[in-house]
């Protein structure tokens, strides 16, 4: 940026290609990026935009036999790092440049205590002996907010929660006082309240140590809260670089504008809400309880109970969307599976006057067309060896045996068009489609049966923001056309606020609060709801300040 500050990292015109032999595809195209000492820079883009590749190129962590650096240079402190010998890079990694990865679950070796893993770089780079390294390690653990650091020093990774593991990762990255910290989606795998804590911690540590931070994320709100400067990437190119204030108030590039506009918006009118609230419920659940028992001990006798769902009551009206919010492990998905009798549970489930819980699987089968489900992961929810026509047509053949092949095909095609797919895709296979398209296929598979209830289990959390908005709009329009009721399960409060008529907040298997969406968001009563909202809204504080949105 400016010449007055010392430039810490300079990436100039970097192009990278992956592949073997003569066949390779270009992943990065002349990417340029600058980081000055002590600066907080964010690299934003959707999946496949090349943001992680850029970070890994910095540390030269790619498989060298499959990676080709076509052009450009990477200078750290004026020293060229591109194609630097492995020994030089090893010196830089961990000591000058620290890195935090997205998945704290897999970034730590499960076979070693966290302490051993933490002091490894200290002994390697700082030349400390074991005792000194341990003292320093415990200090670090305390610094990143781990309770009882002396005891936790010998704990194994599985004994820590996701948030604690990410804290350990941060401690590891900071152990040798790096001048640059690369954080690759550091909070994506974490719950919203933990996300907030981790981000605050990073912010604090940055201020304290004066290191530069390169934050890689797809989350615009996080960028707005954290970064000084932003690079926006799309398709392997940097399309815009700007100050954070300017980027959000006056984005230059069309793609940035699109990204900013892809925040989900509430499209439910007060009128609609009123109308729905007068209808009679068609689905009621009473005292739904689901416990999992864990057997342990020598004779598998000692039983521990996990109360996944604990005496939950709910009702659903025609055309209504009930949002279920909660953090991971709160039992929201299990509750959904219980309602559809895909998970055994206790309690009464009444659907149109019929007691679902009293039916055996055979009796239940013909009713199944009335309640369908769309899952989170569009990659595992479609059978990889069936084509799209077979996937969508499967339920039709079962529940509408009166249709002949021609009618069935017509039905499939009309549903495909309704969800925004074309007829030519009928004979193609799931792996040929993108995540968003796959989710449309999964929706088509459910909607073709004209169900009365659709269970949406995190339907958009695996998708990019711009695709997420399209899918949400599709779901809204389908609901208005067919009058389906949705149970919308999500951890994302924004999505819930945009989609739901009513919201239930779950924690540890219990419903802590329930109410009309707007009322609940404006005046939460339960402290947990307040904490949840605060964690999500905390990122919007600067939104209000800058006056956008």
């Amino acid at each position: 940026m400016s010449d007055t500050n010392s430039s810490l990292l300079q990436i100039c015109d970097l192009s990278v290609a992956f592949g073997k032999g003569t066949e390779f595809s270009t992943i990065l195209e002349s990417v340029s990026l600058d980081i000055t000492a002590g600066e907080k820079v964010a690299l934003v883009g959707e999946s496949g935009s090349g943001k992680s590749v850029t970070a890994l190129s910095l540390l030269q962590l790619h498989d060298r036999t499959q990676t080709h650096y076509l052009s450009g240079s990477i200078r750290f402190h004026g020293k060229e790092m591109l194609n630097a010998p492995e020994a030089v890079m090893r010196q830089l990694r961990g000591s000058e440049i620290g890195m935090i990865f997205q998945e704290p679950m897999v970034a730590l070796n499960p076979l070693y205590p966290i302490g051993d893993q933490l002091i490894e770089p200290l002994m390697l780079h700082e030349g400390l002996d074991r005792q000194a390294a341990k003292r320093h390690g415990i200090e670090l653990l305390a610094r990143v907010g781990i309770n009882q650091p002396e005891q936790r020093f010998t704990a194994y990774p599985h004994m820590l929660s996701g948030g604690e593991r990410q804290r350990v990762m941060i401690a590891m990255a900071l152990s040798c006082h790096p001048r640059l910290l690369i954080a690759d989606e550091p909070t994506t795998a974490l719950d919203v309240t933990i996300q907030q804590q981790i981000l605050l911690l990073l912010n604090e540590l940055q201020r304290e140590t004066g290191m530069a931070v390169l934050l890689i994320t797809h989350d615009l709100n996080m960028v707005r809260h954290f970064a000084d400067r932003v690079y926006v990437m799309q398709g392997g190119r940097v399309v815009e670089s700007n100050d954070v204030e300017q980027l959000f108030s006056a984005p230059n590039h069309e793609y940035t504008r699109k990204l900013l506009a892809s925040e989900p918006e509430r499209s439910i009118s007060v009128n609609e809400e009123k109308q729905i609230s007068t209808r009679d419920p068609f689905l009621t659940g009473h005292d739904i309880t689901c416990h999992f028992s864990i057997k342990s001990g020598l004779w598998q006798r000692h039983k521990e109970e996990i109360k996944a769902v604990e005496t939950v009551d709910l009702t659903l009206r025609r055309g209504e969307t009930l949002g279920i919010v909660g953090e991971s492990g709160s039992g929201k998905s299990t509750l959904g599976m219980c309602l559809l009798r895909l998970q055994s549970c206790q309690g009464e489930i009444t659907f149109d006057g019929a007691r679902l819980d009293a039916m055996n699987p055979r009796q239940l089968r013909p009713l199944r067309r009335h309640f369908q489900v769309v899952f989170q992961d569009p990659f595992s929810s479609l059978s990889p060896r069936l084509n799209i026509g077979q996937i969508i047509g499967e339920g039709l053949a079962l529940h509408f045996p009166e249709f002949d092949a021609e009618q069935r095909r017509a039905r499939i095609v009309s549903v495909m068009e309704e969800v925004g797919l074309s007829e030519s895709m009928l004979t193609r296979y799931p792996h040929e489609f993108s995540g968003g398209q796959r989710q449309r296929i999964a929706i088509a598979r459910a909607v073709v049966l004209e169900p009365r209830l659709l269970l949406l289990d995190e339907p958009t959390s695996a998708l990019d923001v711009s695709v997420q908005k399209q899918v949400l709009e599709l779901l809204r329009s389908l609901q208005q056309r067919h009058g389906m009721a949705y149970i919308f399960i999500s951890h994302d409060l924004k999505v819930i606020r945009a989609m739901a008529h009513r919201v239930m907040v779950m924690k540890h298997g219990q419903v802590v609060e329930e109410g009309e969406t707007e009322r609940l968001f404006e005046q939460p009563e339960h402290p947990y709801t307040k904490a949840l909202l605060e964690a999500a809204l905390f990122r919007e504080m600067r939104t209000d300040k800058t006056g956008t949105v």
């Binding site: 073997k20 895909l342 067309r369 929810s381 060896r385 499967e394 339920g395 792996h431």
Partner: protein, 344 residues
């Protein structure tokens, strides 16, 4: 119901990868060629001529049995075409006969041989004879065929049983799985060889009996792999979605789980085949296998052991056996690599 293994893009890619592995690809062709050739063993190696033209009439001794009197011989029994007298009758004057390339069948005893048995390779018997005067080449050709056919049938039966048992255990899980696993373990720890020895002394040995015995003890490890695939598959979202659609368990297992569990099954087929060939050979070698008149590689090996100086017995059988197993293992290797989706 449509076939679970419809030729999709995935399979086309796998075939491409298989072809790219030259060793496995050529091995497949060589194996198929040899096997198809051995299916025509009666035409290649037989003591009966293919066609005889005798006094203006056509005869087909390979297919039809003719009495020696037809060719103006003395006996009413079937003509022995290796008998110089008969041979002379059907090849003299205007008469002619086309003999197969190797004029012996697996059980032909050459009563007109000039050297004592086992006879070393010569122009008469290309690979010599065994200790009963039977042509080694003929026995190898028929022995190869019977081994491969045996392996095909045994593999088909064990794979079917393994799929069935593994699918049921893996899909239903829980108590079914627990009980199934324990039964499999008890079953698998039975001493197969002793049982075979006992049973072969009770029943008269036959190929069908061998297939029956080996298949009821041979399905367990296939079941393990299929069970693991089904266990993994049943928790996938597409299986839950299929349940939500209201599909029955059989349909889910057949259409959603089986196609995805086929990869280990297909990968194991060549190894199963080679294992079956080896099993048959070892049992024959021990004298517990097929009835003595049946051409078998194991029996030839046993003869080679008895007549250690007759190198042509053990050497040739060894080459055929090792050649077959190596081909199958190369094919298996290529198949395993081609079905590995992690490779581009």
């Amino acid at each position: 119901m449509s076939a679970p293994l419809n030729s999709s893009f995935l399979n086309a890619r796998a075939w491409q990868r298989f072809r790219a592995n030259r060793r496995g690809y050529y091995s497949l062709w060589i194996f198929v060629f040899l096997f198809v050739l051995s299916l025509f063993a009666e035409v290649l190696s037989n003591n009966k001529p293919l066609i005889v033209h005798y006094e203006g009439h056509w005869y087909f001794p390979v297919a039809v049995s003719y009495a020696e009197t037809v060719f103006k011989g003395d006996f009413d029994t079937e003509a022995d075409y290796l008998d110089p007298y008969v041979r002379g009758r059907i090849t003299s004057g205007n008469n002619w006969a086309i003999y197969p390339p190797n004029p012996y069948s697996y059980d032909t005893i050459n009563y007109y041989a000039e050297s004592p048995n086992p006879a070393a390779p010569s122009a008469r018997n290309y690979l010599g004879t065994d200790d009963r005067g039977r042509d080694v080449l003929a026995r190898l050709i028929y022995g190869f065929r019977i081994s491969v056919l045996f392996a095909f049938v045994l593999t088909a039966v064990t794979t079917f049983l393994g799929l069935l048992a593994g699918a049921i255990q893996g899909y239903f899980g829980g108590r079914t799985d627990l009980i199934g696993q324990r039964i499999t373990e008890v079953w698998g720890s039975l001493p197969t060889l002793y049982l075979l020895i006992i049973l072969s002394s009770i029943f008269s040995p036959s190929i069908a009996l061998l297939i029956l015995l080996l298949s009821i003890f041979g399905w367990m490890h296939m079941a393990d792999y299929v069970r693991a695939e089904f266990l993994k598959g049943r928790s996938m979202d597409y299986v839950r979605a299929a349940k939500a659609l209201g599909l029955s368990n059989q349909v889910i297992m057949w259409r959603h789980l089986l196609p995805n569990a086929m990869t280990p099954v297909i990968t194991f087929l060549p190894f199963e085949l080679s294992g079956a060939i080896l099993a048959l050979t070892s049992l024959d070698f021990l004298g517990l296998g097929v009835p003595p008149s049946t051409p078998s590689l194991g029996e030839l090996l046993a003869q080679g052991k008895e007549n250690i100086e007759a190198w042509w017995l053990s050497m040739t059988t060894f080459i055929v056996l090792v050649g077959t197993l190596v081909l199958l293992i190369f094919i298996g290797e290529a198949l395993r690599e081609s079905l590995d989706t992690r490779r581009g």
